[in-house]
Amino acid sequence: MTAADPSAATDPRTLRLRVFRFRRDDQEPRTEEFEVPVGDHTTVLDALRWIQRHRDPTLAVRHSCLHASCGTCGMLVNGREALACVTPADPRSDGTISIQPIANLPVLTDLVVDMSTFVDRFPQPHPIVRDSEFLPQATHPDDHDRYLRFEDCIECGLCLSACPVAATDDTYRGPAALAYAQRVLEQAGTSVEQRDALLDWADGDDAAWRCHAAFECTEACPSDVRPAERIMALRKLLRRREGRTA
């Protein structure tokens, strides 16, 4: 269960991390290699913070919650989208771990991407608190109508990074935004005006119809949002609306 202190591990090893480095006025990004001591429970983020502390304080990394709730530490670890804080530092067969920033978003520096264009894709407004579907057998206190919870989506951008359509089309709204729209549409209490507005938004060429069913977003999502399934459900709603008004 330990994480950060490799020297306390029963089996201390050294892994080679191949880390993407890029400073804005560089011509090309480069890859820098670091030998990092790891223990049984070292995560990729632990290893990167070790590098910051002991090798290179100029390595830029985003993180905040350290427990898959804030979505800031998304990266490509050995080519796959992952949250670094909960990803074990497991090497490939050649003993290395490659670490790159997530794809399809502008890189600020090193592993830090600019999330503005990701957040801009969402419909506005974008409330993140809704009814809790957990523990349906529970009653709630008399002065509460219901229990509340945060949306599953932690806005990490892993889905956008995994999407092959987003890889070639920067206008595509992307899985997270579309999944959010479907989630709002599927809950009771959304007004007719809100529903129509969201359906109009989703009906665009850059929205629900731009998806090509690769399903990589659902594979990449660390929070069980299942954006691909939600995009398909969104299409069903759009079809139904089409059928009604035709």
């Binding site: 990004p29 399809n104 502008p106 069913a213």
Partner: protein, 144 residues
Amino acid sequence: MSRRDLDEIRRVRREPGPVTRKAPGPVAWFDVRRRRTGQLAFSMNRITALGLVFYLYLHLAVLSSLLRGADAWNSFLGLATTPLFLGLDVLLVLGLLVHGLNGLRVALVGSGFVPNRQKALFWSLGVFGTILLIYSAIHVFTSD
């Protein structure tokens, strides 16, 4: 000195930086490294689409030989029964099956009929398609 530095620090944050792509441009469609069934099907759909379009042109070109008379057509038919050509026919059947069955999968899932079962569809249609392919291959090579 420091005013210019601060302006530079601000400027870099305001301007969008380069975007990393896992592979350049449309090559990304075919990048199946570290990907699962969904991306595999997506990539295969695009490859077979290109292949089938190419086949369509070939087919029309071949058919146009009819315009040049019976001899031209008969010499084509001679070529059409060689083992290499029969092999290409099987390849064509493969392309049709992959594209058609995957299209069926995407249509089913994409219309919301079978939402959470895309992987199951991928494998079951894959097995079904493989059986059809073997059957077709046998027929292509053994019928007269």
